[in-house]
Symmetry: C2
Subunit: 180 residues, 2 copies
């Protein structure tokens, strides 16, 4: 099994993920959110689209076997396994996460204006159906919980250990990831 | 009062909207959805962001006095009045709407990859809180219902009379708009 890479608390990274490979995002200590964005490695104007992904799935919560689409309606990632309930809330990369993604993606020629709405791994968003108001609650993920994705095209991935206080139950922890 | 422009059924348009002016989108016949996108007229890499707008408002349904933010967190539009309940669902410009926006925005130098998640005027989205599944129901808007926006920067607006069957209760009608 390949090694687990560690993203230190309140930071981010970016890397290539070839088509057919698997990315496992791991909440190593529990209650830690990770923001994920993805770009076509051959044309970074193509990026993940929360709008299309949620619309095609007809739900706000994506889970095992669901697909993450690009702004050109191509499948970029497939969720092959997840050990808990996740929400792909329509959220932007949060405060510090945006700057961390910006710095990590710059060497790939991806500018800040291109950073799309992120896929929020392990984020716990509760929606009040009457008012549509939502709140970000402490994550329910525990140490070792993970989401495993399959790359459906050659990708550049941006990934963070989220630095929003409320999203992480007011403690900042690392995020692990593995590529195989 | 300025004239009402008409967007014919299943089509779209684009136009400049100077800062400080008002745009009123009118459902002239009732039960007709309109997709709205907006770009900074001076730098079209800046566009409306559903993620930021919903996150800053902490709700999925925007209404009077709510703000629509850009991907740079600047206020682009302010909702100054709306005559019914609206939802800014995290939806992409739907099927035919995307092509209509693409054609309307091309003369402004805006390419298809730049078209963001749209603001869905008059769309009626019902979310099941238990499963997060959502369905698009017939609009509840009636003839003459409107949403009035104030431009908070110089904008290019793309606007459609939506051509998704289910979003419009299986009938295609025009959309009116007025600038003052």
């Amino acid at each position: 099994m390949s090694e687990i890479n560690v993203i230190p608390p309140r930071s981010g990274t970016a890397f290539r993920l070839p088509r057919g490979s698997y990315l496992t995002v791991i909440d190593t200590e529990g209650e830690q959110v990770s923001d994920l964005v993805a770009f076509n490695a051959l044309d970074n104007r193509e990026a993940i689209s929360s709008g299309r992904s949620l619309d095609y799935a007809s739900k706000l919560q994506l889970s095992t076997d669901d697909l993450i689409y690009s702004n050109r309606s191509n499948v970029m990632l497939r969720i092959v396994k997840e050990t808990f309930e996740i929400i792909y809330k329509d959220d932007h990369p949060h405060r510090g996460c945006f700057g961390n993604l910006e710095a990590a993606l710059a060497p790939f020629g991806i500018g800040s204006d291109q950073i799309p709405v992120a896929f929020n791994c392990f984020m716990n968003v509760v929606i009040q159906p009457e008012t549509s108001a939502f709140t970000v609650q402490p994550p329910t993920s525990r140490s070792g919980d993970f989401i495993r994705f399959r790359a459906e095209m050659d990708l550049i991935i941006g990934l963070t250990a989220c630095s929003a206080l409320q999203s992480n139950n007011f403690a900042f922890k690392p995020i692990g990831y593995r590529i195989d």
